[in-house]
Every structure is written in structure tokens, then in C-alpha cells.
Amino acid sequence: MDPEAARTARDSLELVFHMSNILDTGLDRHTLSILIALCEMGLNPESLAAVVKELRRESPPSSSTETVATPP
């Protein structure tokens, strides 16, 4: 990869990172770069987002989830 391309890539990542911060996604640079790479490989962004969401939702306790999901 020539230095020009590397620089562009770095800039792009930086820009995306800024945007991500504005949107308050809570992703760090590394994760973001992986996600970009996956996007570039043609993966569906919706499902990528779903993965991120699923894997990050440890914090809420299970009990509350169940209460909410109770059908009326």
C-alpha cells in the first residue's frame, strides 16, 4: 500500500471516528476499523450493527428484560 493510500485510509478512519463520536456510538478506533473493513467486504451494515448491539448488552439484568417482554 503506497503512503498516499495509507494516509487516505487514516484520514477516513479519523473522520469516521469523529462522526461516530458525534453520534455517540461508544465505539473505539480499533473496533471501528474492524467494522469498516467488514463493511468494505460487503457485509450488511444492519447485521453488523445488530452484532455490535447484541454483544454489548450485558449490563442490563435479566430479570427486568423478562418483565418487559411479558405479553399482555
Binding site: T8, D11, L15, S20, N44, A49, R56, P71, P72
Partner: protein, 927 residues
């Protein structure tokens, strides 16, 4: 292909690792086990394989736009701006190393951020619901309660290669999935099941949790498989609560015949001016109402009615727009009216957008108290009232405007809206300014074309300049005027005047002067006023730009106009010519003319041929210095015979005329020329009187012929004769004093002074109005000072009586000297033998008296005595009348207001002869 897959798998692995590392909020981050890791990995691969294509069409800018809007609506406008900036930079990154699939990245970010937000909201909801007391007390409980923590941080963190075998198998399964994901074959259920079998209960819980906030599709997908798990957890106390809620819902349903969703929809319809299923427009009440028959709570009914005010207002505005547009081709709505309609329609289209969004939201079911909001975007009547608060204000404004502008048009309409714009509320102010900008654009366009091109594109009579079809000479004065009703209040009166004059100048140049040079001046002005004044550049609120444009245009065009007037049409030369010929400034010419037309004019008016007079005028010009004047000017000089009555002499009807053509007749209008004519008549009379007095003097001045003749007369006759001729001379002297002083005053104090003022003012004139005013002032001052004005009518009458007296005196004096001459010739005839004696010196007259004794001499002496007595009496009468009339003149003169008349007084009474003669008048004089 395999490479690609491996890469994807590697990346996913890495991603899962990182996510697990960073997301668990336990004090020691890498607290997940190998098993957990594997499960998570499998799960994520499954998710990735589950959806082939995104659910929306890829479009970078639309995506960026939607993110921006979302940020903006969330009240983070500065961040929205930053984002827009970043996006712009991002989208410009092309070529090697850049992100090709920009849309995917954006979409990813957006979805993640939305998910996070939803989750946060949910937490806060739950916390406020009070369900989580225990959870709050104990901090954040861990999700994986049942898990034995078997894996340490070191075990996994070191390398991603060291894995247990089943993990590896799973991974391979996943990699199959990835292949599927990439679109080579349809997802295989079996394989899924294989990989699923490895998932633990905890993992299931994880899914359930995700489910609450994930999009609809995910939920369906997961629910299919994990429904059982949730049902098991439901416990009795919740059921009781549920029962209570159910009862409540039933109660509400019973009370409301119509559900809120339907009411919301009806209200939305009503707000578009359409009758809903229940909410209908009631002509009697003049409002949208819910019919009484339908059973709803009073509060709901009132709320519906309140919300429907918007519909009522909308109906009104819409009706106005349709009406105006419908009658447009037939009647004159006017461009401003059309612009107003367009502005209203713009506002309405914003309103329609809002309604469309709201309608979409109205599709979402309204959750009852027991149901937690699955989507935040449902619409209840209350929410609707919040949504409607701003459009309602705007719609009210529009309705007010429609009401107040219905009958108005053009500038008046713009003015009316401008009055509404004087409002402290920034919302109202903004709204009004926005619509004013639209409404005024045709108006400003009219100003622009008028000022720069002189065109009046105003078929609907909306502009504040009105044109009237007039003849060329009165184009300037009457052709255009301001229409006060159409002048919007944001254009000041003086600016409007300037606008009027600029356009008028252009039209004047075009029509009267047939000049094309103004176009250059206008272009120059447009360039000088700057780019903001181009077509459509002017607008409401930019009064400065308008003013500078008008000023520039006015300055240049007026200057050009004056140039044309001065240089091409020689205005000053014509003024001078009028002064020289009509105001008798050219002395030799006047003298000569008086000499040669005098005999002709003494005839009765109806016998005089104007052609002959024209010939005489011509010869007067030829023989005076006037011949060197410009032939163009001389051609304009004509003889004019005024309409005459029986008994009028030629003197009464003769006058000179100066013919002016377009465009000069804008200045020298008929009324101006008639005033010049009055001045001419006065001056001509004065000249004639002076001429007459001089003519008398020629006869009466003492010479040796008469004095020799006197000597021969008998004493009685001689005495008589000397007495009479002396009386005559004294009177002549008095008259001459008066006439020559008056003449001097008129020529030097009046004409020359006024002329020099005029010249000065013409130099300073900036536009045609200035020029007209200067000329007007010139003429006015001449008329006032030469006693021709309104206020000095009395005095003028006396003056003319004096002139008449002088003329009568002239004829008497002529008769007297004719008589004397006759006497002289008779005497000479009868005493031819005494011819030699005539040469004798006069001191011997006593001795000669005897020689008069001859035949008929007595008779002659008697007749001469009689004649002289009669003449003496006549002259006495004239002198008496003259002195009394002159007395009146002198006494009335100081009453005149004009200060310059003091000079005349001073001249006439220089020796204080008159003031001493009449002490009463003198006292007045001294005052």
C-alpha cells in the same frame, strides 16, 4: 474466495473479542470465559448470516441527511453542523485507501447510535417505573449469574489460536454460514440448528434482552425460537397487575365509543380540510366538531375542537388561495397577489409535510397505560396538540393576513403585510419577513425596471407609480404620479419621489428628447450599485440596496438629462433669447422695432395685417445686432396678434411670441408662455410710453426757430404761449422722471437680478425638477417685482392709468405743437414782407410788435389765444389727473411686500420731493 472468508471470520473474531472486552462493565474487563466467547462468536456469525441485503436502498447523501436531521431534531444543531462538515470531507475521500462503501459505514454508525439511544431510554423508563428497585439497590447485576467462571483473562487474551475443539467446529460451521451470507446458497436450517445447539441458556437470555429494543425483524426472528423462555419467567403478581390494567382498558373502551386512534386520524383529516369519519365541518357552528351523538368524554371533545381550529384556519387560507388562482385569468389578481398566494402555498407545503409525517405516525397503535411503548412514535390527541402548537400559530398568522389582504392588492398589500411584520415575536417576525420577501419580489422588480429601463410593467395597477396618457409636452408634469395607496410603508416618501423622477427622466429622454444615451447611464448605474441589484437581487429588507440603486441611477440619469437639455437642446440659449426678445433686453432691436411698427400699430386693430408686421419684425432683426444671433433662435421669434375687440388699436393686440418645441415646452409650457406674454405686454407698453415721451420732446424742446417765432408774436399771445408751453414742459419732465426711473428699475433691478439668479441656479441644478423650479422662481420674481402679480393688481391698474395719461398727454402736446407750428407758418405767410425782420435779434421784440398790425392779424391773434387757452386747460386737466393718480401710486407703493420695490420708491423719491409735497405719505415712507 476462501481467503476472503477467512478474512471475514478473522475480522469477526477480532470484533467479538473487542466488543466483549470493552462492553462488559465489570471491574476486571476480560472477565468472560472461553465458552462465552465461543458462544458470542457463533451468535454473531449467525446474525451476520441471517440477512443478505440491507433493508433500505443505499444512498450516501440521503443517509447523511437523515443523520443530520436526527441530530438537529434532538436539539444538537451544532453537532449536526459538525457532522455535515465531517461528512463532506469524508465523501471527498476517493481513490486508493479510502472507504468505498461509505453508505454502509454511515448506516452502521446510525443504527448503532440509534440502538444505544433506545436502550438508554428503556433503562430510564424502567427505572422510573419502579420495577427495578432491587436492581438499583444492588448496582448493575451481572447478566451471567449462572455461569461458572472458568476462563481467566490470560487464557483467552493471549492468543486467538488457542481454542478448544468444539469452538473450532463451531467456527467452521460459522464459516459455512458466512459463505451463505455472501450469497452462494440459501441459509440452511439444519446447520443453524447444529450451531444453535451449542448455545447455553444464558446466551438465550442475551437474545431475549436484545429483542426488546431490536428492530421488528430481529424480534420476530428471535421470538420464534425463544418464546418459551419468556413465558416461563412470568409470575403471578404481574398477572394481577395485568388484570387490573385490562379492566382499566375495558373501562376506557366502554367510555369511548370511538378509539383515540380514529379520532387522531379524523383530526388529521380535518386539518387538511377534509371531513373525517366522525369529525365533520359544521356550517352552523362554523367549525369542525364531533357530533353530539358520539359518546366521548367532554375533555376529549374539547380537545378535538381545539385541535380542529387548525383545520378551520387551513380551510380559510386554502379557500383564499384557490379563489385567487381560479379567478386569476379572468380578473386582475395582480402579480403581488399571486406572489402572496405562492408564499402562502409554500408555507402550506411545509404544513403538508408535517401532516404527512404525523399521518405516518398515526398508524402506530397508541399504547394504553399497561403497555409499554414499543415505538416512541405513536400519536395521541395530546401529542398532536403539542405537534400542532407551532403550525397553529403560523396558520393563524396566515389567516390574519388573508383577512386583511383580501381586498387589497399591489403595494397596498405589501404595505399591509409590512405592518404585520412589525412584531416583537421573532417567530411572527420571521414568518412575515419570509412571506414579504416573496410578496415584494414583483414589486421590487417593477422598481428595478422602472428605474433602470423606464418601463412600467404594471398591468394590474399595483405599482406606486401611475402613468397617464398625455401629450409629450406635459409628460414631465402630468405623465406620471405617485399612487399613495399603493406605496408600501417601507419605502419612504422621498425615496418614492426619487424613484418616480428617475423613471420619469428616462421616459422623458426617450419620448421627448429621442435620446438613446440614457441606456448607458442606466447600465453604469446598475454596475455601480453592485451585483446585489441584479434581476431578482432586490428584496424586502434590503432597503439599502434599493436606495443605493435608485440614488446611482437617479444621479446618472438626471445628469444625462440635464446634459441633453443644456447641450443638445440649448436650454440656456433659449432662456437668454427669451430674455432678449420677449423681455426686451436687446435694446437696439426693440428701439428699431418700435420705430418701424409704430405707425402701423396706431391703426385700428382689425386693419392690421400680421404678415406685414412679420415683415417688419424681420427687418428689425436684420437691421439690429439680433441678426448675428443663432438662426434657429430667430426662426422661433414670431409676431402674435391677440384677439381684439372693436376700437382696439394695433398697440393693444401686438405682441411677440417665442415658439418652443418638444422637449423645451416642458419648461416653457403654455401657462409659462402666457406669463411671458403678460410681462412682454407690460414692458412693451412701458417702452411705448417712453418712446412717446421722447417723441414729444423732439417737438417741444426749445430751439431757435420757435424762439424766433415767439419774438414776433404780440405780447398777450406770446405770454400765453410761453405759459402753456412751460406747463407742458413741467408735466413732461415729471412724467419722464417717472417713466425713466421705472424703466431703469425694471431693466436693472428686476430683469438682470432675476437673470443672474437663474443662471446661478441652473448651474447648481441636479435634475429637471430643479431646473423647472429655478425657471419658475425666475418668472415668479419678475412678475412679482414688476407689479404684475396677484397682490399688486391695484397698483398695476394705477400704473396703466398713468401710462394712458401719459399717452393722452402726448397727443395733447402734439396737438399743441402742431398748433404752434401752424400759427408760426400762418404768421410767416401773412407777413412775408417782414421776412427780413425775422432775422433780427430777439431783444428787439418790443419794437417789432407794431409790425403785427395787418389784415386778419387780429383774427389770428384771437384764434391763437383761444387755442392756447383750450390747450392750457387740457394740459392743466391732465396734469391734475396725473398728479392725483401718481399720488395714489406713490402712496400705494410702500404697501407692497416685495423688498425690491423699495428701490423703486427710493429712486422715484430721491430728492424727497414727493414726500415733502405730501407729508402724510412722507410719514409713511419714513416708516
Amino acid at each position: 474466495m476462501d481467503d476472503d472468508d477467512h478474512r471475514v471470520v478473522d475480522l469477526v473474531k477480532e470484533l467479538v473479542h473487542r466488543l466483549l472486552c470493552t462492553s462488559s462493565q465489570n471491574p476486571n474487563p476480560p472477565s468472560f470465559t472461553q465458552q462465552e466467547y465461543n458462544q458470542a462468536l457463533k451468535y454473531s456469525l449467525r446474525i451476520l448470516s441471517s440477512r443478505m441485503t440491507p433493508s433500505i436502498a443505499p444512498d450516501d447523501s440521503a443517509m447523511a441527511e437523515s443523520i443530520k436531521r436526527r441530530l438537529a431534531t434532538a436539539g444538537k444543531s451544532s453537532e449536526a453542523l459538525t457532522f455535515a462538515d465531517l461528512y463532506a470531507k469524508f465523501s471527498h475521500k476517493n481513490g486508493p485507501g479510502s472507504v468505498r462503501n461509505k453508505w454502509a459505514v454511515l448506516y452502521l454508525l446510525k443504527t448503532i447510535s440509534e440502538d444505544r439511544k433506545v436502550r438508554k431510554n428503556q433503562f430510564s423508563n424502567r427505572i422510573s417505573n419502579g420495577f427495578l428497585d432491587s436492581a438499583l439497590a444492588g448496582g448493575l447485576p451481572t447478566l451471567f449469574e449462572g455461569d461458572e467462571i472458568s476462563g481467566g483473562s490470560g487464557e483467552f487474551g493471549n492468543s486467538s489460536v488457542g481454542r478448544s475443539t468444539d469452538g473450532f467446529v463451531d467456527l467452521r460451521g460459522s464459516s459455512e454460514n458466512v459463505r451463505n451470507l455472501r450469497g452462494f446458497s440459501i441459509l440452511e436450517n439444519e446447520k443453524n440448528e447444529v450451531s444453535l445447539s451449542g448455545l447455553t441458556a444464558n446466551m438465550k437470555k442475551l437474545k431475549v434482552l436484545g429483542d426488546a429494543s431490536s428492530s421488528l425483524r430481529t424480534r420476530e426472528h428471535v421470538e420464534k425460537r425463544y418464546n418459551g423462555g419468556i413465558l416461563v419467567v412470568s409470575k403471578d403478581p404481574e398477572n394481577i397487575r395485568d388484570m387490573a390494567y385490562r379492566d382499566f382498558v375495558d373501562l376506557i373502551k366502554e367510555e369511548n365509543e370511538v378509539t383515540e386512534v380514529i379520532l387522531v386520524r379524523d383530526v388529521l383529516y380535518a386539518c387538511q380540510g377534509i371531513d373525517g369519519k366522525y369529525v365533520k365541518f359544521d356550517e352552523k357552528a362554523d367549525a369542525y366538531v364531533l357530533p353530539e351523538l358520539i359518546k366521548v368524554p367532554r375533555a376529549t371533545r374539547i380537545m378535538v375542537r381545539k385541535l380542529c381550529e387548525l383545520g378551520w384556519l387551513f380551510r380559510k387560507v386554502k379557500a383564499y388561495i384557490t379563489e385567487s388562482l381560479d379567478r386569476f385569468p379572468a380578473e386582475d389578481v395582480g402579480t403581488v397577489g399571486q406572489a402572496f398566494c405562492a408564499a402562502l402555498q409554500d408555507e402550506l407545503s411545509d404544513y403538508y409535510k408535517l401532516l404527512a409525517v404525523l399521518e405516518a405516525q398515526a398508524m402506530n397503535p397508541i399504547p394504553l397505560v399497561s403497555e409499554n411503548a414499543s415505538s416512541g412514535n405513536y400519536l395521541s390527541l395530546r401529542r398532536l396538540s403539542v405537534w400542532f402548537s407551532e403550525p397553529l400559530v403560523k396558520m393563524r398568522l396566515m389567516a390574519v393576513l388573508v383577512d386583511s389582504c383580501k381586498v387589497l392588492k399591489g403595494g397596498a398589500m405589501a404595505g399591509a403585510i409590512h405592518m404585520h411584520a412589525q412584531h416583537g415575536d421573532p417567530l411572527v417576525n420571521d414568518f412575515m419577513k419570509r412571506s414579504l420577501r416573496r410578496v415584494c419580489s414583483p414589486l421590487f422588480e417593477m422598481v428595478r425596471t422602472w428605474v433602470l429601463e423606464g418601463e412600467l410593467e404594471d398591468i394590474f395597477a399595483e405599482f406606486f407609480v401611475l402613468s397617464q396618457p398625455v401629450k409629450a409636452e406635459s409628460l414631465w408634469r402630468e405623465g406620471y404620479r405617485l399612487h399613495a395607496a399603493m406605496l408600501p410603508s417601507f419605502i419612504s416618501q422621498s425615496l418614492a419621489q426619487r424613484i418616480l423622477r428617475t423613471g420619469k427622466s428616462i421616459n422623458f429622454l426617450r419620448v421627448c428628447c429621442e435620446d438613446r444615451g440614457w441606456a448607458d447611464a442606466a447600465t453604469e448605474a446598475a454596475a455601480a450599485a453592485g451585483t446585489s441589484t441584479g434581476r431578482g437581487g432586490l428584496g424586502y429588507g434590503k432597503t439599502d440596496a434599493l436606495e443605493s440603486l435608485v440614488t446611482e441611477a437617479a444621479r446618472r440619469i438626471d445628469k444625462h438629462l440635464l446634459d441633453v437639455m443644456y447641450k443638445q437642446y440649448k436650454f440656456k440659449e433659449h432662456c437668454l433669447a427669451i430674455k432678449r426678445y420677449l423681455l426686451l433686453g436687446q435694446g437696439d432691436f426693440v428701439q428699431y422695432l418700435m420705430d418701424i411698427v409704430g405707425p402701423e400699430l396706431s391703426e385700428a386693430a382689425n386693419t392690421i395685417s400680421s404678415f406685414k408686421l412679420a415683415g417688419l419684425l424681420e427687418s428689425a432683426i436684420r437691421s439690429s445686432n439680433a441678426q448675428y444671433d443663432d438662426p434657429d433662435i430667430l426662426e422661433r421669434l414670431r409676431v402674435k396678434m391677440m384677439p381684439h375687440n372693436t376700437g382696439d388699436r394695433g398697440w393693444d393686440v401686438f405682441s411677440l411670441e417665442y415658439d418652443t418645441s418638444v422637449p423645451l415646452n416642458t419648461v416653457f409650457t403654455e401657462s409659462v408662455m402666457s406669463r411671458y406674454l403678460r410681462i412682454f405686454n407690460f414692458l412693451w407698453k412701458l417702452r411705448r410710453v417712453e418712446h412717446a415721451l421722447i417723441g414729444v420732446w423732439k417737438n417741444m424742446k426749445p430751439n431757435c426757430v420757435t424762439s424766433r417765432f415767439f419774438v414776433k408774436l404780440p405780447d398777450a399771445v406770446k405770454l400765453h404761449l410761453i405759459l402753456t408751453s412751460r406747463k407742458c414742459q413741467v408735466l413732461w419732465d415729471e412724467m419722464n422722471h417717472f417713466v425713466s426711473n421705472l424703466q431703469y428699475y425694471i431693466m436693472f433691478e428686476v430683469l438682470e437680478v432675476s437673470w443672474s439668479n437663474l443662471v446661478k441656479e441652473l448651474e447648481a441644478a441636479k435634475d429637471l425638477d430643479d431646473l423647472l423650479a429655478a425657471h419658475e422662481k425666475y418668472l415668479y420674481s419678475i412678475i412679482e417685482k414688476s407689479l404684475l402679480g396677484e397682490r399688486s393688481q391695484n397698483l398695476n391698474k394705477i400704473l396703466f392709468t398713468l401710462f394712458d395719461l401719459i399717452l393722452r398727454f402726448r397727443s395733447q402736446a402734439d396737438r399743441l405743437y402742431e398748433g404752434i407750428n401752424e400759427l408760426q407758418s400762418r404768421t410767416t405767410d401773412s407777413s412775408s414782407q417782414d421776412k427780413a425782420r425775422l432775422q433780427r435779434p430777439s431783444n428787439k421784440k418790443f419794437s417789432e410788435s407794431g409790425s403785427w398790425l395787418g389784415e386778419g392779424r387780429k383774427d389770428l391773434t384771437r384764434r391763437a389765444g383761444e387755442f392756447l387757452r383750450n390747450m392750457g386747460q387740457d394740459i392743466d386737466a391732465i396734469a391734475k389727473e396725473y398728479s392725483s393718480v401718481f399720488d395714489g401710486f406713490i402712496s400705494q407703493l410702500p404697501i407692497q411686500q416685495h423688498v425690491d420695490l423699495k428701490f423703486l420708491m427710493f429712486r422715484l423719491d430721491f430728492t424727497e420731493f414727493y414726500s415733502q409735497l405730501r407729508p402724510s405719505t412722507g410719514g409713511k415712507l419714513l416708516l
